[in-house]
């Protein structure tokens, strides 16, 4: 989920991303690691306003990026899913680039106040953002 309600889990990104990477590493040990081959595919869901910075940061690390436009489930806001193939040992670089380019920000949503006889919109702070990163083990990588 790219969105966190106010006060919940500001460190979700780092934890979930690390968990994914660790599990990919352990499964990789069972196979013979191939030199220079792509072993992990990252799906990074980033906010629309961060997508250029994130893609640029990854491209500067010589990591090619494919962008898919997508939408979030909670606010229904447009976002971008970046696909990045990673070689062994590049995970931390890629995550650092994403952490630096995708910031969490507090935005105010106006919702009608519940139980009020008149529609009185009240601004509610919502923590939006960061990035949500999934790492999938790649069994086979090929360029044709």
């Amino acid at each position: 989920m790219p969105f966190f309600l106010n006060g919940s889990n500001p460190f979700g990104l780092a934890r979930s991303a690390k968990g994914q990477l660790n599990s990919a590493k352990t499964s990789d040990k069972m196979k013979v690691p191939m030199e220079n081959s792509i072993h992990l595919l990252l799906f990074a869901v980033v906010q629309e306003q961060d997508q250029d910075a994130a893609a640029r940061a990854l491209e500067q690390l010589r990591l090619p990026v494919v962008r898919l436009s997508s939408a979030g489930g909670f606010l229904g806001r447009r976002n971008t899913t970046l696909l990045v193939g990673l070689q062994q040992g590049r995970e931390e670089d890629a995550l650092k680039a994403l952490e630096e380019s995708c910031r969490q920000r507090i935005e105010y949503l106006t919702l009608p106040l519940e139980g009020s006889p008149l529609p009185m919109p009240t601004p509610v702070p919502v923590t939006v953002g960061g990035a949500t990163v999934f790492g999938l083990p790649v069994e086979h990588f090929e360029e044709i």
């Binding site: 595919l41 491209e59 962008r67 898919l68 193939g85 990588f141 044709i144």
Partner: protein, 87 residues
């Protein structure tokens, strides 16, 4: 079960779609832009039973013959799928 994530250029997408669907591979096309090939690209998500993966890759290799320029025409990843369901 595997998922093949295949990234090709716009102008190759229709031929690949035709080829895969006529061999009864089920595909999802996602319009995208990319740095892999630096232009309009199409990402295919293809769920395939293990024993049919090689067949699909062969079909893709056959359709995307090398260009004289040596430029890459497609990038593909095969990732394992823990669970697949069609509902």
């Amino acid at each position: 079960m595997k998922m093949v994530i295949l990234i090709v250029k716009d102008h190759d997408a229709d031929e690949i779609t035709q080829a895969l669907t006529s061999e009864k591979y089920r595909i999802t096309r996602v319009a995208s832009t990319g740095g892999f090939l630096r232009s309009g690209v199409v990402t295919f998500l293809i769920g395939i039973r293990d024993e049919r993966v090689e067949g699909a890759l062969d079909l893709i290799r056959k359709k995307l013959t090398p260009l004289p320029s040596g430029e890459k025409r497609a990038t593909l990843f095969v990732v394992p799928v823990e669970r697949f369901e069609q509902v």
